[in-house]
């Protein structure tokens, strides 16, 4: 049992972090407002979870300006993609092992 849970990644335990990663896995670059809309969270809440993912180097950040407004987009990094895939595999294993 121990080694099955091992691969469940603590960084993805939170619903919002999990959501951010899910969206970024299947999209190229997604900006802050789109993430906010899809996840239906507040600015501050989203920002803090994004910072956490950034610290783990799971996501890349690109800052740009649209006119005078700052516009920040995010994409998943190589490390992040690998980590998320392992997390999904772990979830799958866990559920399959329970079925037997």
């Amino acid at each position: 049992m121990k080694n099955i849970i091992q691969n469940i990644n603590k960084a993805f335990e939170n619903r919002i972090r999990l959501g951010v990663m899910s969206i970024l896995m299947v999209n190229d670059w997604v900006d802050f407002n789109t993430l906010k809309e899809l996840l239906q969270v507040t600015d501050g809440n989203l920002a803090s979870h994004i910072t956490a993912l950034e610290k783990e180097e799971y996501i890349q950040v690109r800052k740009a300006f649209i006119g005078k407004k700052p516009n920040t987009s995010f994409a998943v990094s190589k490390t992040g993609r690998k980590a998320f895939q392992e997390h999904l595999d772990a979830l799958e294993n866990l559920i399959n092992s329970k079925k037997q």
Partner: protein, 207 residues
């Protein structure tokens, strides 16, 4: 046991977010039914006009009047169909809490519009060479390709509708002269049939 539930919820959430962020799922079945009805009505008007002029099945010799009437009729169908699709789709988008104009709908429109615009231009070329009989099959085939292409960015069911339109287009290509009939089948009957299927599959459950 609680943890199990949590993991399952996680998986469901991942799946839903992946889908919602890439696919435009607010396409309404009702808009298919209405668009099909409009196309059938338009085809009936066209048929009536052709009968009156005694031109059914003769693909050659088009008078100025006939041409103007056909183009006006076709544009009327197109505008009404697009308006009704817009109306039902924005209604459903509101219910789904999905905005009508976001990355996913833009992607869907771009992927629909590319084959559609090419098809429209190609029909212009056919007309330029006087190949009037090929207009109906060409429009069916290109519309089918547009649907198959767009299906990657919206409800998957559209894909089979696209294949059906393409097949119908080729059958029509070998039965020139029955263009209007096939056109009514493809844009009218198929739309209605698919609209009903999609309505029962997606829309009704949510109401």
């Amino acid at each position: 046991m609680d943890q199990d539930k949590e993991h399952l919820l996680q998986l469901q959430e991942i799946r839903s977010l992946m889908e919602r962020s890439t696919k435009f799922i607010s396409l309404s079945g009702l808009s298919g039914i209405v668009a099909g009805g409009i196309a059938l009505a338009g085809a009936a008007v066209q048929y009536w006009y052709m009968e009156k002029e005694g031109r059914y099945m003769s693909c050659i010799k088009l008078s100025q009047d006939f041409l103007l009437f056909s183009i006006a009729n076709f544009l009327g169908i197109l505008i009404l169909a697009v308006l009704s699709a817009y109306y039902f789709t924005q209604k459903k988008a509101k219910k789904n809490n999905q905005s009508l104009w976001d990355a996913s709908s833009k992607r869907l429109l771009l992927n629909l519009a590319t084959p559609l615009a090419s098809g429209g231009a190609f029909c212009g070329v056919l007309y330029f060479y006087g190949l009037i009989g090929l207009l109906a099959p060409a429009s069916l085939i290109f519309y089918g390709i547009a649907l198959v292409n767009g299906s990657n960015y919206t409800l998957r069911d559209i894909r089979n509708l696209g294949f059906a339109e393409i097949a119908l287009g080729f059958i029509c290509a070998f039965n020139i002269g029955y263009g209007l009939l096939f056109w009514a089948l493809g844009f009218g009957v198929l739309h209605i049939a698919y609209g009903i299927v999609m309505y029962y599959k997606y829309d009704r459950v949510q109401e």
